[in-house]
Symmetry: C2
Subunit: 248 residues, 2 copies
DNA sequence: CGACTCGTTGAGTGATATCAAACCCGGTGG
DNA sequence: CCACCGGGTTTGATATCACTCAACGAGTCG
């Protein structure tokens, strides 16, 4: 992907969150950044470090945020894909409260943090779009709290699969409720608070019931309406379409 | 509390997140708002509604955010206290993805949303402080995901108690790791993903081990260092002191 | 004093974890 | 081309933490 295309990708992403004018677009195109690639499972950011001097925008690939228990138990708290800003959650914080790692090969644009501060604080429309993006991330965290706290294993993993389907479709990297999911079952477990063996049994049960199909690392949701119900999934929390309350 | 004092409280809160100049303070003091009180368990905001035209700032009392499963299971996703903005999480979203309810009698200042938008987008220092506040909320959500996903009952409730202690002390409504906790055991369970009877047993076990003392609705943490370890608690995620990585 | 909510306790159950082994498959080196 | 290797997946047996159900107690309010 050319450098020009990266900036266009950022403009597109932000435009989806609110209208931008020519000045806004010009300001975005003036952002200083460098391209960079990480190979899984490289760290993009480590818990406890000072926040980065750059803000990573995902051009392609997947990344995840994780936190560790002192016992060494891992919890993945979110997954990110093309079009996501990885460091918005630390934009104004001084220390990283979690780590970010590449889940696959990860192409990012490292945007200068000070320049982004400037942009966010000086250009209202861009600031608004970035705010919105960060708030949607927070909304997803809340849904995960509910998912892990109050749903059983079957609903939990089904919910994760539904969320990925819609987010990947919105990001243009999936269609027809079918997508590549390059996570091991252990990682899925770390995302939904289960052990890998229970994830395995749960996935097989979903497949046996005809709700999903699995081939290699590909997942397809065979019956959206039914799996939506099993997952107790409602797309409201993704705030995909600012104009409508629900969808999905 | 006088009206003047409310605005001062807001200024104090935001100043803790970043320096404000006289212009910023004047702009805050010019914010149109009205005082309002809710009696528990009144709804401040309901999931699925359009976002409010006001942003509530908590003057005193406690509130909580909750989400429901279609089965009716409840998950409390955060608790808020004096000095917290309740609607920052929806500031730029169109629909509420969760409900907010009063946990006790709740005194708020309803700040006009458009005026707040204006302020946040036009005054960089204020915008930065508000951003920071919203990001800290998000950080707490992440810690709750970890807490619920990866810690056992004992650690989970101990963690909640530790978090309250530090946040209430920061808000000036507690000292010496002792505070009023006006939640029923059922609500505590809804916050940490446990049933009320297991919360009961867990609290008694913590008390039996001399880690906490309970009288009525008051909790005191008898041995901070020890309960901190039981809870696997580290204050980093609260971002209480922007200059230091840890504390607590 | 009765009714209600919240807290406490006990007994039995069940969902998920743990432990352990086998299997599968893609990659690598002989 | 085959043997091996290693990570990931699958399966079975057993253990356990937390849930469910049920009853009782304590405090509060009308």
């Amino acid at each position: 992907m050319s450098d020009q295309a990266v900036l266009d990708q950022i403009v597109r992403k932000l435009s989806a969150r609110g209208d931008l004018d020519d000045g806004d677009r010009a300001a975005i195109h003036a952002l200083p950044y460098v391209r960079r690639a990480y190979e899984a499972p490289a760290y993009v950011l480590r818990e406890g470090e000072p926040a980065k001097k750059v803000c990573n925008f995902v051009v392609s690939g997947l990344a995840y945020r994780q936190k560790l228990t002192s016992e060494g138990a891992r919890q993945i708290v979110s997954i990110h894909m093309a079009g996501d800003f990885l460091d918005l959650q630390h934009l104004f914080l001084t220390y990283a409260d979690h780590s970010v790692q590449a889940l696959t090969r990860l192409d990012v644009a490292e945007i200068d943090r000070d320049a982004l501060h400037e942009l966010v604080l000086q250009r209202p429309a861009v600031g608004r779009a970035m705010w919105t993006d960060a708030l949607v991330d927070a909304s997803i965290f809340r849904e995960w709290v509910l998912n892990i706290g109050r749903r059983d294993a079957r609903a939990r993993v089904a919910h994760l699969l539904c969320e990925f389907a819609l987010r990947m479709e919105a990001a243009g990297i999936a269609e027809h409720h079918r997508y590549e999911l390059p996570m091991t079952q252990e990682q899925i477990g770390d995302a939904v608070g289960l052990t890998p063996v229970h994830v395995n049994r749960t996935l097989r049960a979903l497949a046996a019931d005809g709700l999903i199909r699995r081939e290699r690392r590909h997942i397809s949701l065979e019956n959206w309406e039914e799996i939506r119900q099993v997952a107790d999934f409602s797309a409201l929390y993704l705030h995909l379409d600012p104009a409508s309350p629900a969808g999905g």
